[in-house]
């Protein structure tokens, strides 16, 4: 049970993130939902990479059998960077939308609907 805590957190975070994206009408809150969802995935991959008794592969003299392959950490770092870029682009879109429409409420931004 205790070892499953990270995965429970992943499920909770994903549900919170998805619910925020689907239910909120404010663009900034939707972006927060996207950010939470990204964090859930990052936590998921990091939790997968944990090995009890493993040694970080930065010590030269450690027993090589106990070293942990750093792939999940590398994936997470990449994913964090991509997440930052995405959120930055989304927020800059929100700035322009606010300047044009005077609102960030998705119900009032509907020039493209027909």
């Amino acid at each position: 049970m205790f070892w499953n805590l990270p995965y429970i957190a992943v499920v909770l975070l994903s549900v919170i993130g998805l619910a925020t994206i689907l239910l909120k009408r404010n663009l900034i809150k939707i972006f927060l939902g996207v950010s939470i969802l990204t964090s859930a995935v990052n936590l998921f991959i990091i939790a997968l990479g944990y090995r009890e008794g493993g040694i970080a592969p930065i010590y030269t003299y450690a027993v090589s059998e106990n070293m942990v392959m750093a792939t999940p950490q590398a994936l997470t770092l990449t994913s964090i960077v991509i997440g930052v870029a995405t959120i930055a682009l989304m927020l800059s879109f929100a700035v322009i939308i606010y300047k044009t429409y005077g609102t960030v409420n998705v119900d009032e931004i509907k020039e493209l609907k027909e």
Partner: protein
């Protein structure tokens, strides 16, 4: 003739050239606008040459491997790695080579077109950087053999495409469309990453061949497949995740729209690659095949019925793009549904897949052409409203001819290429289920009806007030369209040549899971 080190490193150069060229273009742009235009064109030409060269190598010598950072570029599994391919490996088989060919051909035509069509805009230093970045990302998506690497290129292409869709920031609507596209792609990307995590947690591998070798079809694998199919179907614009397509396609500059079509197809490639190569016959192919067929049928019907009442020329074409994506899903879905049954696969499954894959190729060409003609019309008339065009046939003769070629091709009229691929799909799908084939034909007729309407309201009749001074599109734009139109005609007149040399190897590469695995992991 070509030095050995270029031959060996060609798959890496395919990505390196557009990426480096992209980030150098703002610096070159400091010199002058013409220098930047020349630079962008040179980078794209070089990328196209490398792309054709790589495709040629794949078609003549079989699957091409490139291992990044290894002492030997084709050594996928080093002896000290314990049998696991740990590095990023590009794996180009015939299907990837076909997609590379499509991407560089459309990319070259579109860049040539865009040098004139977008020259009047501001912010061009960023525009070409993002454009080349997008082309590099598409090439990366179709050539990588690593799931996480695919995700990275998927995200680069999403970010670049969203930036380009929102490029006309002075109109809030373009930003709205870009945001919609970015949100859909980002959430899709997160799902995809979840799926990667699930697969990595079970099999400790990210390489597609390694995963394909070990995959079990456990409940977790099923979950991963659902996430991947949802993410990539949303990215390729299939119903019911199609709502971003008309907005993004209609708001982007026309050159970008033509490239967005290819970006969507790269996602489609990812979907097929994962269904066929990663899961292969371990997945419940009848069910998944039918899911893809139903997605395809829904896209075809909803796409075309939504297209008919549209008044904006690019929005109308965007709905047709949704509808045509349905044909590709239908063709390849039928192939997937009979994947485990060798007799049925030989009798019509392979033909259906060839039809679907040929349609990917054809669609990229004629849809790119149609969007470029729409762009030329908007460039000269200054509006995308069909009701305010009219009588342009007298003034824009070449654009009209290209439009006719594209419209007849999309409606599946011989001798254009749409007919060749649609005929393969009708014929083989009829053997699978006659009803599906009839639906496909009806959709084709509706497509023709819709384009007859567009043709009539844009080109026929007397020039509307205000359109008397409209002139033909500039020459570089016409050259870009000519390239695509020539391919549409040639591949329509000689379909056997294209099918035998390009499409059949691609279809066999998709169904030959064992061949893909042994190409990476060695003998096994």
């Amino acid at each position: 003739m070509i030095p050995g080190y270029i031959t060996t490193n060609a798959p890496a150069l395919l990505i390196a050239v557009p990426l480096l060229g992209a980030f150098l273009s703002p610096l070159i742009g400091k010199i002058s606008r013409d220098a930047r235009a020349l630079w962008v064109l040179a980078v794209m030409t070089l990328t196209a040459l490398i792309g054709y060269f790589v495709a040629f190598l794949v078609y003549t010598e079989g699957t091409l491997l490139y291992v990044f950072g290894a002492t030997n570029a084709t050594l996928a599994v080093p002896p000290d790695s314990g049998g696991i391919p740990i590095r990023i490996i590009f794996t180009l088989d015939a299907m990837s080579a076909l997609m590379v060919t499509i991407a560089v051909t459309v990319g070259f035509a579109v860049i040539l077109y865009s040098l004139t069509s977008d020259a009047r805009r501001s912010g061009l230093e960023a525009y070409y950087t993002i454009f080349l970045l997008m082309i590099g990302a598409i090439l990366g998506m179709v050539s990588t053999g690593d799931l996480f690497n695919f995700f990275v290129f998927l995200e680069i292409s999403s970010l670049a495409s969203a930036g380009l869709v929102a490029y006309k920031v002075e109109k809030g609507r373009a930003v709205e469309a870009g945001l919609k596209y970015l949100l859909v792609s980002t959430i899709g990307g997160i799902f995809f990453l979840f799926a990667i995590g699930i697969l990595y947690g079970q099999y400790n591998a990210l390489n597609m061949a390694m995963l394909a070798d070990m995959i079990q079809w456990t409940p977790l694998d099923k979950l991963a497949l659902v996430l991947v199919v949802a993410a990539l179907a949303a990215k390729c614009g299939a119903v019911p995740m199609h709502f971003w397509t008309p907005d993004a396609y209609s708001m982007a500059p026309s050159a970008v729209t033509a490239m967005l079509v290819v970006a969507s197809q790269a996602s489609l490639y990812g979907l097929f690659r994962i269904c066929f190569t990663l899961y292969g016959i371990t997945l419940n192919y009848v069910t998944i095949g039918w899911v893809i067929i139903i997605l395809g049928i829904l896209s075809m019907i909803i796409g075309v019925t939504m297209a008919i009442p549209q008044k904006d020329i690019k929005r109308l074409m965007a709905y047709h793009a949704v509808s045509q994506t349905g044909y590709m899903l239908l063709g390849v879905g039928v192939g997937l549904a009979v994947l485990g049954d060798q007799a049925l696969l030989n009798s019509y499954g392979m033909t259906a897949m060839e039809g679907g894959i040929f349609h990917i190729f054809n669609h990229a060409m004629y849809k790119g052409l149609l969007f470029l003609t729409a762009g030329a019309i908007i460039y000269q008339v200054g509006t995308s409203d069909l009701n305010r065009m009219g009588g342009l046939g007298h003034r824009m003769k070449w654009t009209m001819i290209f439009f006719i070629i594209g419209a007849l091709a999309i409606a599946g009229i011989p001798p254009f290429n749409g007919f060749a691929s649609k005929f393969l799909i009708y014929e083989s799908v009829f053997a699978f289920s006659p009803l599906l084939s009839i639906i496909a034909m009806v959709v084709s007729i509706l497509t023709l009806a819709s384009f007859v309407k567009v043709f009539h309201s844009v080109f026929m009749g007397p020039p509307l007030p205000g359109n008397e001074q409209v002139r033909e599109a500039p020459r570089t734009m016409l050259i870009g369209m000519t390239i695509l139109a020539a391919i549409v005609i040639i591949s329509g007149i000689f379909p056997e040549f294209f099918v035998q040399n390009l499409i059949t190897p691609a279809a066999h590469a998709l169904t030959d899971q064992a061949g893909y695995i042994s190409a990476v992991l060695g003998g096994a």
